[in-house]
Every structure is written in C-alpha cells, then in structure tokens.
Symmetry: D2
Subunit: 292 residues, 4 copies
C-alpha cells in the first residue's frame, strides 16, 4: 500500500521495502523502514560547511570525499531498520555491535521459534591451520553424512526436551535453557549508516565467520546498495577493499620501487613473521590489482 | 512536494514537516525527517513478545504499559531528525546528550553566523537564592536598560573584531576564538525517541535553564506530540509529571495516612534538610493534585 | 602481592580484589580492578560546582544529593572491571547493556568451556500466570527428577556431538553451533558506576530472571557495596526500592488522604486494569512501609 | 602520598600521576587516575583466546598483533581520567567525542573562570588556501600587534560586562551568555584507551586545529606513552602514521612498479583532482620513507 509523504524518498529503498531476502537455510533479512538517502548525507554535510560551500560541487564528489577522508558524521544522518531471522550463534556476534537499537524475540514471553540451522553433509568445514579462528575446505562426504545425522539426533532431542518442559508447566524462561545456539531468533535492528558500514566492513571481511558473512553480504549488496547507491559505491572503493600501510610497509615498498627484491627486503625489515606475512599478502594484492 | 512511499506514515509529522518553529529571538527548530510512528513502537514490541501476544490488546494500552514500566527499547525504534538554530551557550548543554547524531555548522569552514541572542531590558533574571544553579524574578527595568545597552556594546565590538580578523586574512578557525557564547549556531540533530524523551524529561523540567527549556517545550509540545501522539501522552502521564518516592518518603506518607502531622513527621524522619524540603514539596504536589 | 601507588584507594575494594564469588552451580564473579572510590565522585562533582562549593558540606550528603536528584555524571567517574563465568542464556540478557566494555571467551578460537548449568530436581520453576515473562513456585519433585534426568541426557549428547566434531577436524566456529544456551562462557566486563547502578536496578528487580538476579545480587551486595559504600547506600535508599507516582496516582493518594476508600477510588480513577493493579501494589507498599 | 594496593600498577603512570602539563597560554592536562596497563590488555585478549593461547607468545607481539588487526576491544579494558583546563572553543571540538565520561566546570553554579586564551602578535594564522578548514603561515607582526591589542580590548569589555552583571545580581546562567569562546573551562574527562587512541588519531593529525592538537600531543607523548608504552608504540607504528590504499591507488602503485610514470598514471587513473592529489601525497610519503 502506498501513501503520500513530504519526506525524502530513496527510490531504491521503495523497490525492496519489506522484501524478504533469504539467508542460510531458514533465515532472512528485510528492510522495514529507512530515513534519508544519499541526498540527506549531502544535506547534512552542507549544514556543517554552511554558506561557504561551492554549490556546484557535485553530490557524488562530496560523498566520495567524505568517505575517503573518514568524515563519518554525515553518514550517521541516514538510518535503516531491519527485520532479521538469524541463528542465535550468529546473533551472539551481531549484538556485539553496540551502537544500534534492538528488539529481539523474547523466549521468556513466548514459545521459542521451532527452527534450527541445519548442516548439509557437504558443508562441514575444516578447522583452518593458519587462522586459529577460521575454517577452510570441507570434510569428506561420508564423515559429513555421519555428522549431519548426529546433528539431527541432537536437534530432535533438544526439541523433545523443550516441549516436555513446556507441557509440564515449566516457565518459558527456564525451559529455554538448553536450546542449541543453532536455534533461530528474530529481531528488529535499527542502525545509522556510519555504524552499518562499520558492521559491513567487519562482517563482509574474508575473516568473518561464514554464517554472519552471508547476512552481511545480503545487507550490503541487496539492500544498502539500493538505498544509498552513491554512498555504497564510495564504501566499496574507499573502505571495503582497502588496506593500510604501516610506516615499515611504506619503507618496504619504497625499497622495492628502488629495485630491492620483495622477499629479501621483507626478511630484512619485518622481524615478526605475522607482520611479514601480512606485508607479503598486501604486496601480492597490489601486484595483482592492475590485472583487473 | 509530495511523493509516494511504502514506508509507514505519521499523519501528524506530515503536517509539520519542514515547518520552522521560532524559539528565542532568532532561533528555530524544524523537523527535517522522521522514521516510524506510534504503530512502529507496537510493531517492535510485538516482535519481542512474538506469537504469544494477545492481538486484541489495544495499541494504546500496550504503549502506555511500555512507558509505565520503562520498557524503553521499542521507543528506540522511532527516529527524528531536526534542524536547529540555537545560541552556542544552550548548545553546550544540548551536546551533553551523547546518544544522538550531530552535524553542526562549521565556523572553521565558513564565516560565523552573524546573529547573537539579545536580551530585552525586562528579561534580566535574578540569581536564585535557593537554587545555586537557577534564576528567579527579573531585575528592575532601569538596570535592565543599562545591561541591554552594555550587551549591545559588547556584541558590536565582538562583531567588529571578528570582521577585522577575517578581512585581514586570519584563518576562520582562529578568527572565531572570541565569538560570544550568545552567537547562534546551526545543527542537524538526529535522535531516537527513547533518548529524545530523556532529553525532554531533563530539559522541560522546571530546573532546566530558560533558554534550552524553550527549545524543549517546542520540540515536545509542537513536534513530538504530533509525530507520536499516543506515546507523547503516555510520556506526559507516566514520565514528565511524575516523581519517585524513596523508602523514607513512603514511610512518611504511611504515617500521615495514619494520622501523623506532615511537618512533625518530616522533622522526625529526614535528618537532611534538602531531603526534608523535597519531601514537603512532593507532599504539597500530592495534596494539590486532586484539585485539578 | 601488594604494590605502592599514588592513585586513590578503596579499602573495601582491596579486601575483595580477585576474590571469586560463586554464583549458580558453576559460575562466578570477581572484581579484577577498579578506578576511583566514593571520594572520586565527590571530587568530580566539585569540579562541576567549582569554587562556589560549600566545602564544609559533607561528602556523604553530597553523594546522597547527587543520587536523589539523578545527577548521574559524577558516578560515571568510577569504573569497575569484572571477570565473569555465566551461562550463555544469562549472558544473552547481560550483553544488552550496551554501555560497557567486553572481552568474551572465544569459542571460535578455543575449545568451548565444558560446563553447563544443571538444574536440581526441586528447582524447576512453574510458568507464572500473572507475569507472562516470569516464573513462580516449583514443580513437584517427581516431575523434577524426570526433567533433571532428561536434562542430563541432553547435556551428554550435546557434549558427545561437540567432541566428535572437534575430533574429526570440524572448525571450532562450526562445531559450537549446537552448544546449549546453558553452556558457560567467560568474560571480562568493564563498566562505569552509573551504568552499573542501572544494570543493578533492572537485574536485582523482582521481575528479573532468577539466574541473572543471582549475579546482580552478588555484584551489588558483595562487591559494589564494598567498593563505594556511601554511594551504594544512597543507591539502595533512592533508587533500588523506590517507585514513581504518576499524575493519576498522586490524585488517588490525595483523595485517600481526604478520606476516600482505596478500592473505590482506584476503580473510579484507573480505567486500565494493569494500571489499577500497579497502584494497589504501590499503595500496599506505602501502607506497610512504616511497620519496618 | 603512597598507598598499598593489590591492583595492577603502571610504573610510568605512577611517575606522572597528578603532574600538570601546561598547554597553550593558561591551559593544562593532568592524569588524575588510571585503570590497567599494557598487561591488562594482554590479559583481556587472553580471556577471549582462552586456553588455546600459546603462552610463549610474547605480550608485546600480541599487543602489536591486536593493534595491527584492529582488534579493538582489549584496548577498551584500560581507562584513563584526566583533569583539563582548555578554552571553550577547543572544548567544543573535544566534546564531540561521545564515548567518554565528562564533568565540566559549571558556570551556572559558579563564577566563570577568569582566564581567556590570548594571542601573541606573531601567532595570528593565515587562512589556508588549499584547506578550507585550515590555516597556514602567520600574519606580519604589525598587523599582529593590532589584532592582539583589539583582542585585549574585547577581552576587557567582556570581563567588565560579565562582572557588572554578577554585581547587579544577574543569575550566573544568564551572566555567562556573552563569555568569549576563548574563555577557559575545566573538566574531568574519563575515556577508555581504544577511544582515546581514536581521539589522538584525529587530533594529532596535521589537519587538526592547532589548539586541540597541542592538547592531543601532550596527552599522547607525555601521558599515554608513559602509562602504556608498548601499546603506544604499536599505535604509532600501525595507526598514527599509517594511510590506506584504495583499490585505485593499489592499481596505480602496481603500474608504477611495472615502470609507469607516477604523474602520467595518476592523470590517467584519477578523474577527481582531490583524489589524484591525495595519491600523489601518499606516493611522495612512500618514496621518502626509506630515507629515515
């Protein structure tokens, strides 16, 4: 149903408002409401810069300038509200982003949502050797089948136990105590665009956990990109695929520009092996970048 | 100009959107944008309460229940954005409310706003005797005339000095260093409804300073009341004109209900004179309340 | 081990620093560090009040004045850091207090803590009839025995499944997905005194869930009371056991003081049954208060 | 006076605790109290990483790893409290850092501090041509003398007017309305180390305004460096003198490494002149870096 408004409109937001984007096996994200658009960011920035602003400077140029120079406050002038369905395990990470407004489904007040995140036999991930908090590659299908079947057993027992407690009159706040972290929860989540970009920066990162990354990718690529296309493009160009160069890394590149060998100079400059590794990765990204 | 939207509408907000409400001699407040309405608060609360909610319970009843019991998170689901023009002195108090988004007019980037808050001869307030941080009553008109004239001298000199600096090429960031606190500034200010109610509670209070109170009254009575009428009514009934009763004050009232004299029991119970005074004021308010 | 310091000391804090206070079956709280004491609150308040302050005014009187009048910023000048072991279910509530610093044990990085909150047969709580999010009374012991045995089955299966996954090389971040909410986690939690009092106000309340209330009681009565005894006393007197009187409730008491019957006047004034009930409870508390 | 404590100690903090570091003509910063030290950061990080941590990994290596990878939460486990005297103009910028605790001297409650920031004749800064919000170079001494004398006139009149108002009984809250922004104020300011580093990153930057930069430099180099020397070194190496490389800038460097000319490739790649300029600056810094 459409209404008339004098508020500013984001045409992209209107297209997707309320649409459910499915994530994982039973989760979703949908944009419930939003305030502002790319123009609202420009408008707020121009309050700061006042009459002195060159009005011919294009909005896009201004937004990109703000993003590049980390002038974050105008991006706080846009707000988005989401409705989420997400496993509690991912929600535990999500809620660590403190500058946001939250209303979560209450399993004290209501019967718990009867959905758990299930794992397909070919989706059990190996512990990463390099990254103590990451995963890489998949277990073989036979082991996967066994693990998925055991997962099902556990989910079934957890469900039975929960239902028994409820039937016998146990308080919901206590009955829920053994729900698995894979149980889905729902929430309304409202956040300003600056803090949302920070969330996306961390959770779209390759080091982020697979599950929350799926949500972040959908929020970024399917929703934010539509609501504030110019800002999102600037975010991609100047924040998402960006890295920093420390003083030592600047020196290393300078030496390489002057003819030093990358391996040699890395060994010479970086006493810490992680730091050396990080530099080599960055240098590889630089070297490969011009091929795209 | 009106546009179509699928977002929720607050009819009251649409009426006043963009309208300048004048405050003090040269200040204003206007609502620039908002997200949500009374219904959005109910919607968020119902996510928390889930399927278990009695859907026949009326929205108004739910909102009043939430307000009465300080269930604050659903009120965070509404957001308002204001454009303000306010003396820097009042802004210094305003900005202490940290949970808000701000873009202030930059006097580093632009020439300072050439407006200062001026005081009419009959508006010079006496220092309060009781309240070390308050005022009460007005100075006589003759003294007031003198003070207003001196104010004008000072404003004129401050303006001359600022203009001289600018003309001679001094950086704006330095030229501004002697602007009086009465100089107007402008800002975009965005805040969620829960934190806005907290602002209003403190700044509509009788102990708030006159200047910021004028802004708070306009924001409360002319804007918020329109945007979320049901919530604002609940705020008035359960937050604004409310006071707390400490354990000792509960005992005092109990004794009075059993026949004790108010003065006697106050002297007996409250060793601290401020606390005694506060109780007597509360008791007076209770006694008078049924006459209205 | 003791060291010398020029920083201010809280003698009460020194007594209990590092001491483990056991909570629930396998949880604990301990104070790891703190900054400031009652005197630091007075010192900060006196910066605000400057030279004009009556230095003879006693510190205790000032702290009580600040608490009574909700001058909250001086209480932010004290900080406490805790080490907690707590079931994830309680932690899910805890973490909603956003103005705090947190480092939680990472089950991405390390093997999950092998402890779950277990329920004794006589500790299964009935769902409250009145309070949709509460509990009251206990199930009979026979049912309790059955539920505790089923709980044990579920905990055992959850443990087996987790261990199998780890043994087969599944990434820790995925292996943890079906840990029950009763699984213990650990965290460092750092918060200022104002926000800690807010936490205690909500979580020591009779409506708070049993589990988190045990933690709040220990933090309040065993730790904060020791670290800042004067402030904690003021908190008890002016915040913890306090209630508000709405405009309508003030009228009701006024009428009763003038001879009206409590039941009659409640029926007349409060159209909403919950509000009427709440008033009757408050009135009962007032009536009983002078007996203690 | 020294006391014994079981809390952790920062030897560097003990040396400077309470010491007044003078800033500008009449301002100062002093460290009033602090919680934690470099070890506290390690300790908090190890809670997150749990038993799985390689205990032989050196503390310094861990702190540097955390800083390099922007694992910010362990740095929130250290807290510092400062006493400041600062011109209101700089304070207006300072207070924009919202995640901090503040008690400011109240000119409602007390007579205003009778000190204003004064400008020496050779310290009047020119408006920068390039940077609309910056300054560069100084005005000639003759003009400077005139401006300093006019400044004095204005300060004198402002002082007279303020004193007249106070003498005639005007409320302090109103009398202060025309104090110049150069008037000093005082505050207690408490902040965690992560947010303090963010403050320093922005305010030690070459684009920060001269006045606040003096405070930031003192806080960074004289205080934080003493309290948490290892963390501060990591901050300098991985945050302070660091810059980001956008995707486009990575491509540019890649092309230069393959023989392209810097000027040519910049013109080709960067359509926006500011972005091109920024790249050229970064490239210059890289080129020069190996000379130091």
């Amino acid at each position: 149903m459409k209404m008339e408004t004098k508020r500013v409109i984001s045409p992209g937001a209107e297209e997707i408002l309320g649409k459910k984007f499915e994530v994982l096996d039973k989760g979703f994200v949908r944009l419930v409401d939003c305030l502002g658009n790319d123009g609202a960011i420009v408008q707020a920035a121009r309050v700061s810069y006042g009459k002195g602003t060159d009005t011919k400077r294009k909005d896009r140029t201004l937004i990109r300038y703000l993003m590049r120079n980390r002038h974050t406050s105008p991006f706080e002038m846009v707000e988005m509200k989401f409705h989420l369905r997400v496993p509690m395990d991912a929600w535990r990470q999500w809620i660590r982003h403190r500058t946001a407004n939250v209303n979560e489904y209450s399993t004290r007040y209501s019967i718990a949502i009867d959905d758990k995140q299930e794992t397909e036999p070919d989706k059990w991930r190996f512990q990463s050797e390099d990254n103590k908090q990451g995963s890489e590659g998949f277990l073989d299908i036979e082991t996967g089948k066994y693990l998925s079947q055991r997962e099902e057993e556990l989910h079934n027992l957890a469900k039975q136990v929960y239902n028994e407690r409820i039937e016998k009159g146990v308080a919901r706040e206590q009955a829920r105590k053994d729900l698995p972290l894979s149980n889905y929860t729902e929430a309304y989540w409202k956040i300003d665009l600056h803090n949302l970009f920070h969330f996306l920066k961390l959770r779209m990162d390759k080091k982020a956990q697979y599950e929350i990354k799926q949500y972040a990718n959908v929020i970024g690529n399917e929703i934010v990109k539509k609501v504030v296309p110019v800002s999102y493009e600037a975010f991609e160009d100047y924040v998402l695929d960006v890295f920093t160069l420390s003083k030592l890394e600047q020196i290393a590149i300078s030496k390489i520009l002057n003819g030093a060998d990358c391996e040699d100079i890395s060994n010479e400059l970086f006493e810490n092996k992680y730091e050396r590794q990080e530099f080599l990765e960055k240098f590889k990204r630089i070297s490969l970048s011009s091929q795209f």
